[in-house]
């Protein structure tokens, strides 16, 4: 009989635990409503397949919201940041968005981190009239323009254009494309294929790999057999660090171009010495110390880099920068609007002009919710394991 | 021999190189109790499986009521009236006693996914009559009082009875009983013997595999002895008891006196 009772007790414990958890989380929210802070929501892929995006984004937001609040908040009111995790799953993203809007009553949302997730919720801001600034790069987020949806990262197509420009300058006529089988890789692949003819460049190979693959030699062997003069890889996952290694193993000497998704010092680290000489477009953040001092972004970038690295003991990545930009665009808009009103804030965001962010200088307009041009990208390369601005 | 219900002609079943059943021919007449005996591994259960359609014979011919049923799968055999009980009891433990019997009426009812989902009136009538008929069989085996008990709560002997009730509810032409006395004591074995006779008296032919010689000798009309997949003797109990070969490979000296 003993065991029977024991089991029963444990069952009760579980029940009580579940129940109290739920109640607790409800109660928690009730209390907070009295302080009347300005609520800003954030949806990032903190866990799941894209956690390396969500993590720096969340960290950035948390850090700067604290900073702002310490400095007295906005319009005399503190900002309350509510961060939700998408777990890289579209259904969860939808839930998170609806929760932020209808339960937490946020006035604006930053995120999601990924294009797919953003596409999944793209109509929700419009439905509930809450401005949203996405940290995902895909062009389709801002094209066509949706009234309540903005984005901070540079456009994929601009990255593609920069790469193609550079290739043309180098006299490359034939390229091989590699891309990761994900929303990001897919978009980039399409952009490259679309614009390559305009630069007189032919795509002689087009291959993909899974985000969790660990060996790209089969694809690269295939490319090696073609006449490609350069490999352009479009990916955002760690797997891309394997490519330069594999290329070296195969004895391939043609240059490797990466997308802006390579913009994470960890990836360069993971490549080891095989990474030397990789060329890729990126925001200036990564190589901000090699920027000329008179560059308008230099101060912002250096500050952000310093603060982030001090606080989190971790190297800065461009993705965190996207969140930085989004947060300050919203803060600026609130200041300008003077009232905490979702529609007014939206209007002010749209009027943002000349805002110096980490990604570039933002100019939104009713026709353009991207805010950045292709000059926001700088061509970078890896020298001695460090990102530097490519000088030519 | 009048009226052969089941006829086997030169039936073989090989597993790789092993000849589990090797050219066995015999027939079972209507209303008979026929037993198959033989040492362990002689191919008795394999032969059962071949007849019931669980396994296809490698060679040979099986006829049921003058119809060729050699290659039919087991569930078809069941609907044609070949029903079996198992050596290790195989009742449906996740159902009630009544439901166990109702399953046996499966080939004699017709509700499918669609009609079940929408509960047409005819289907409801079918269900009611199913319950009525099934209770009749439970009554025959004195299990009616436990109709709503979960089947796995029955004591061993009653599970065996339930297996018979279920088999009978299938309205078999021929009942294949695989060691019905396994695990029963002498008294219970006698009950089973009486029961099998009763079943025979309702007009069902019975084919039996059994180790308990007292049971076999007591109730069989005819006995078939298998050894290494081959038939070594066939005949009445008296005949078998005196067969030298059978004594040598199977019965031993003691049985002579029994």
């Amino acid at each position: 009989m003993m065991k029977f009772f024991k089991k029963q007790n444990l069952f009760c414990v579980v029940l009580v635990l579940c129940f109290s958890l739920t109640v607790f989380s409800f109660a928690q929210e009730k209390k907070e409503e009295k302080k009347e802070p300005i609520k800003i929501g954030a949806i990032f892929s903190i866990t799941g397949g894209a956690s390396w995006l969500g993590e720096p984004e969340r960290n950035t937001m948390v850090m700067y919201v604290e900073k702002i609040n310490k400095a007295g908040g906005v319009l005399g009111r503190p900002i309350e940041l509510i961060v939700e995790d998408t777990e890289g799953n579209e259904t969860k993203t939808v839930n998170a968005t609806k929760k932020l809007i209808t339960k937490d009553n946020v006035i604006a949302i930053v995120g999601p981190s990924r294009s797919g997730s953003t596409m999944a919720i793209i109509d929700i801001p419009g439905e509930y009239k809450v401005p949203l600034i996405s940290c995902a790069a895909a062009e389709s987020i801002a094209v066509p323009v949706r009234k309540y949806v903005f984005k901070t990262p540079q456009k994929d197509s601009d990255a593609a254009l920069r790469i193609l420009e550079h290739l043309k300058k180098k006299g490359v006529k034939k390229i091989a494309i590699m891309s990761e089988a994900s929303g990001f890789g897919d978009q980039g692949r399409l952009q490259l294929k679309k614009y390559a003819p305009e630069y007189g460049i032919a795509v002689v190979a087009d291959d993909t790999y899974g985000p969790k693959d660990t060996d790209m030699t089969p694809q690269l062997t295939k490319i090696k057999a073609t006449e490609a003069q350069a490999v352009v890889n479009w990916s955002i996952v760690p797997a891309q660090s394997i490519i330069p290694k594999n290329m070296k193993q195969l004895g391939m000497t043609i240059p490797l171009y990466q997308s802006h998704g390579f913009g994470n010092p960890k990836y360069a680290e993971a490549c080891g010495e095989a990474g030397e000489g990789i060329i890729f477009p990126a925001g200036r953040l990564l190589a901000c110390d090699t920027l000329p001092d008179d560059h308008p972004q230099k101060k912002v970038l250096m500050n952000y880099k310093k603060e982030y690295e001090e606080r989190f003991k971790d190297s800065v990545s461009t993705f965190g920068g996207h969140a930085y930009d989004a947060l300050f665009i919203i803060v600026e808009a609130i200041k300008k609007a003077g009232v905490v009103d979702k529609d007014k804030i939206r209007d002010e965001i749209e009027k943002t002009k000349g805002f110096i962010g980490t990604g570039g200088i933002f100019n939104y307009s009713p026709e353009d919710h991207t805010g950045l041009q292709k000059d926001a990208f700088e061509m970078l390369t890896i020298k001695n394991g460090k990102f530097v601005v490519l000088q030519d | 021999m009048a009226d052969p219900i089941l006829e086997l002609k030169d039936v073989c079943r090989f597993f790789g190189g092993v000849r589990a059943v090797d050219g066995v021919s015999f027939c079972v007449s209507k209303g008979q109790i026929k037993s198959i005996i033989g040492p362990n591994g002689a191919g008795k259960t394999t032969l059962f499986n071949v007849i019931a359609g669980n396994m296809k014979p490698t060679k040979g011919n099986i006829r049921l009521q003058n119809r060729n049923v050699t290659m039919l799968p087991d569930y078809k055999m069941a609907s044609l009236g070949v029903t079996r009980t198992f050596q290790t009891i195989k009742i449906f433990s996740n159902m009630t006693v009544l439901e166990n019997v109702m399953i046996a009426r499966h080939p004699r009812s017709r509700a499918g996914f669609f009609s079940a989902a929408f509960r047409f009136p005819w289907m409801r009538r079918e269900e009611t009559s199913l319950i009525r008929e099934s209770r009749k069989y439970l009554e025959f085996f004195d299990l009616l009082g436990k109709a709503d008990h979960p089947a796995h709560t029955l004591p061993f002997k009653e599970q065996r009875l339930l297996e018979f009730a279920r088999a009978l509810a299938n309205e078999p032409v021929i009942l294949l009983a695989d060691e019905p006395a396994a695990g029963l004591n002498t008294r219970e074995t006698k009950d089973i013997a009486a029961l099998i006779k009763r079943i025979r008296d309702t007009g069902v032919t019975v084919l039996l595999v059994e180790h308990d010689m007292s049971l076999v000798m007591d109730i069989s009309d005819e006995i078939l002895v298998l050894d290494f997949g081959k038939k070594i003797a066939e005949g009445t109990p008296e005949h078998i008891r005196k067969n030298d070969e059978v004594i040598a490979v199977y019965l031993g000296r003691r049985a002579e006196g029994a």
Partner: protein, 326 residues
């Protein structure tokens, strides 16, 4: 007697479902409940397959995804009516289920698990690879999936979605309960208990197994269509292997062999992560821990557990639940 058995809980459940929106007004909570409804539909089918027929499928998210993609593509690219697309989705899924199920269900145990898992992966890779058809990894972006229209109401708001999804669920639930308590249900359970004996009773087990596989596939496909029209965006991610595993977990956590358990399991595993949002990063830990806990101490699932509790209250020394499944 049997009638009372199934209709009373059903009526109670009906009342709860109908009245729930009176207490839950927030669209977010309603949205979560809509998802509970959608997933319950899948787990109900899966529960029929697992709990009743005793077969396992680690590829059910594929059927779910096929329904969703069929709805998305047929309404978006081909401009079909959502209802027609839904039906077509179910038809396609049924055919695929038949095609896959016929050879797969001859397998047993881990081999069946592997076969269905492999099938699920292949379908997911198909969603990823056929960029021109499905939009590939970025999801279906060629057109917005339209709202569904029921008679004259457009199902757009959370409340209408709630009633729509749960309305469909209730109808299906009733049909499912009918199936369970019928000749077909008995045949399925007999397969679970002992396939050989079932065949010996004249049950065409192969046909029933494939039948129930198709049926559960259709449920999943229908749920997928509802999902597509509710979320209005489909991408391959939510139809992958982990989702299949999650679905199976829902059924087991809820308690195998009970349709109510399937609904309870879906509800728990949808609501739990939402409730755990509070814990941020820690939720994966807590989620894993809770799952482990349920499995360790309630192997019969929550429904098995609550039955045990009930038995205890009634002071009937019940048999141990776990002896039954397996």
């Amino acid at each position: 007697m049997m009638k009372r058995n199934i209709y009373i809980p059903y009526a109670v459940f009906l009342m709860i479902v109908l009245l729930a929106p009176m207490f839950v007004k927030n669209p977010y909570y309603l949205g979560v409940l809509v998802q509970v409804g959608i997933f319950s539909l899948v787990t109900m089918g899966l529960s029929l397959l697992m709990g009743y027929a005793g077969q396992i499928s680690l590829g059910h998210a594929a059927f779910f995804g096929m329904g969703a993609y069929a709805s998305a593509i047929l309404t978006g690219t081909c401009h079909w009516s959502p209802w027609l697309a839904m039906g077509a989705g179910m038809l396609i899924t049924a055919c695929v289920a038949w095609f896959v199920g016929t050879p797969s269900l001859k397998l047993k145990g881990h081999y069946l698990a592997m076969a269905t898992l492999g099938f699920g992966l292949i379908v997911n890779i198909f969603f990823l690879a056929e960029v021109d058809l499905t939009g590939g990894p970025s999801g279906y972006t060629f057109a917005r999936i339209p709202h569904i229209t029921f008679i004259k109401w457009t199902i757009k708001s959370e409340t209408s979605s709630y009633y729509f999804v749960w309305g469909i669920l209730l109808v299906i639930l009733l049909l499912t309960l009918h199936i369970i308590h019928s000749r077909v249900g008995r045949a399925l359970r007999s397969i679970h208990a002992d396939e050989e004996a079932a065949r010996a009773m004249g049950v065409n087990t192969a046909q029933y197994k494939v039948g129930i596989f198709i049926l559960s596939g259709i449920y999943a496909s229908l749920a997928g269509s509802l999902y597509a029209h509710y979320i209005r965006f489909v991408a391959p991610d939510p139809f992958g292997l982990m989702e299949s595993v999650l679905l199976v977990t829902m059924v087991i956590v809820g308690g195998m062999g009970s349709i109510w358990g399937a609904i309870a399991g879906a509800a728990l595993l949808i609501i739990l992560p939402e409730a755990l949002r509070f814990f941020q990063d820690y939720n994966i830990l807590i989620y894993g821990a809770i799952l482990l806990f349920i499995m360790l101490f309630l192997p019969g699932g929550i429904f098995g557990g609550s039955q045990m509790l009930w038995l205890l209250i009634r002071k009937i020394p019940g048999r141990r639940q776990e002896a039954k499944d397996g």
